[in-house]
């Protein structure tokens, strides 16, 4: 980038600005990389009642560490190979139709084909948080236990065909919806060449960060604006690492900035319950960044009570603090209990899934 090696012509002010931008870009790339590299452990067991005759019973469980940004239909070839080679006998393997396979959690929740795997996992975590702790401690394995059914899929509830093609169409739909939320149109996505659009999906399929972000950086907001970012480690840590060159935003411009979108694509998931979606402006009316706390307090005030104002200052207490309020819940984003000071715009640029959406799963502090 031109900010390197051309300092001779720069005024000190400009140089400071680009240093700060560089740190910001570094953090953006880092969090995008962490989000991309996040994986979850799955334990997949064929429903014992459906195991075909002559199956190898001792092996009917398959373990996989699956990328959060991936989808169940993309894991199917690997899962099928395992069961066909090691569990089912040849005749059974020939007769089984994998377009009739479908998944449930061990608790009996149907898994949708078009939900990112990380969302399925987090949604399950928050569902456990509402169960009495006695049952939770016994069902507290790190892996998400799934039951694989081999026949009679409840298609009316699964909604989509279990194919990678159907999943890709749903993914592109989500990407466009996110684009529309951000900018009021889908020009950024529709402006991509067909090859680039396919490249996004290929990047997910192959779990290739560089392939995905080569295209995604053209449609995802940048964080290179002058505003403070959250959360930010001290700048000195930036020099200790080299950032992946492929993740460099192509010159952050104010127009594409995370704080200039109309709204941030956010969905709020409650345990076993409704999914809420609304317009989430990056800044509040007073111009301050819209924080996760503000968002949660305005949507779920019973779980995240508003903070009362601080009492008036007195001589004995010149800097009074507001009385503490206890939140009854916590937000999980990409598996992280997210700090409530996080800014929604920053979350949209750095912790969104590959489909452009920030999924916030709300767990109960029971």
């Amino acid at each position: 980038m031109s900010t390197f090696g051309t300092t001779r012509h720069h005024s000190p002010a400009v140089q400071n600005y680009s240093n700060r931008d560089r740190v910001t870009n570094y953090h953006t790339a880092l969090f995008r990389r962490l989000t991309w590299d996040g994986t979850v452990p799955l334990e997949i067991r064929v429903d014992p009642k459906e195991l075909p005759a002559n199956s190898e019973r001792g092996l009917e469980c398959y373990y996989i560490q699956a990328p959060r940004v991936s989808y169940l239909p993309l894991l199917m070839p690997e899962i099928r190979r395992f069961f066909n080679e090691l569990v089912f006998d040849e005749t059974a393997a020939m007769e089984l139709k994998d377009d009739e396979w479908w998944f449930e959690t061990a608790e009996g929740t149907l898994l949708k084909w078009h939900w990112p795997i990380g969302l399925i996992y987090d949604n399950h975590s928050i569902s456990l948080s509402t169960k009495p702790s006695s049952s939770r401690s016994s069902s507290k394995p790190a892996s998400l236990r799934l039951t694989l059914h081999l026949a009679s899929p409840p298609n009316d509830k699964l909604l989509l065909a279990p194919t990678p093609e159907a999943c890709k169409i749903a993914f592109m739909g989500q990407l466009k919806e996110a684009d529309f939320i951000r900018w009021g149109n889908t020009k950024r996505i529709t402006g991509l060449k067909q090859q680039e659009q396919d490249g996004l999906w290929e990047g997910i399929k192959e779990h290739n960060f560089d392939d995905y972000w080569r295209v995604a950086s053209k449609v995802t907001p940048t964080t290179g604006s002058h505003r403070a970012q959250s959360p930010g480690p001290p700048p000195s840590s930036a020099s200790m690492h080299t950032r992946p060159p492929s993740a460099d935003p192509a010159g952050p411009s104010e127009r594409d900035g995370a704080y200039n979108v109309r709204s941030v694509p956010v969905r709020l998931y409650l345990s076993d319950g409704p999914v809420m979606q609304d317009l989430v402006p990056p800044l509040l009316e007073d111009g301050t960044p819209h924080t996760l706390r503000h968002y949660l307090t305005s949507h779920l005030p019973l779980l995240f009570p508003p903070q009362p104002p601080a009492p008036p200052p007195s001589r004995s207490n010149p800097h009074p603090r507001p009385p503490p309020v206890q939140d009854l819940a916590y937000p999980l984003i990409q598996g992280i209990p997210a700090p409530l000071e996080s800014e929604m715009a920053w979350l949209g640029a750095c912790l969104a899934g590959a489909d452009g959406w920030v999924n916030i799963c709300v767990g109960l502090r029971t």
Partner: protein, 129 residues
């Protein structure tokens, strides 16, 4: 950095503010959750607009209960048009994108309404898919 363990399982140690527990808090939290799970019977206006060669509807405004999923809107539209399950019908919001079938009408309305209508375009061929 504390955030690097984001791929761990649910048994990772959460910050203390997450795990502090009292049974009273738990009860209150569960009660709050139930409040948010209640569906209200609110209805919103959905306006269907044909695209391309798709048949035009005489009556194209409908009041639809907003807790319905978009899938229900698609099924309703198919019924109105007399379309069978295997005939292709593509649906879009604001001539721009196809929503997820499990998203609710309420959510789509809140995010994409135009003059108090949710505009659903339908087409027999893929248009903005």
């Amino acid at each position: 950095m504390a955030l690097t363990n984001h791929h761990d399982g649910p048994d990772r140690s959460l910050p203390t503010w997450v795990t502090q527990d009292t049974s009273e808090t738990a009860e209150e939290a569960l009660k709050a959750l139930q409040t948010y799970k209640k569906k209200d019977g609110e209805k919103v206006i959905v306006r269907f607009k044909a695209v391309g060669n798709a048949p035009i509807m005489k009556q194209n405004f409908f009041k639809i209960t907003s807790s319905n999923r978009f899938q229900a809107v698609i099924q309703f539209l198919r019924k109105e048009l007399g379309y069978k399950g295997n005939e292709p019908l593509h649906t879009y919001i604001n001539l721009a994108f196809s929503p997820a079938p499990d998203d609710t009408v309420a959510n789509l309305f809140k995010s994409f309404q135009t003059d108090n209508h949710l505009i659903v375009n339908y087409s027999t061929t893929a248009a903005w898919g």
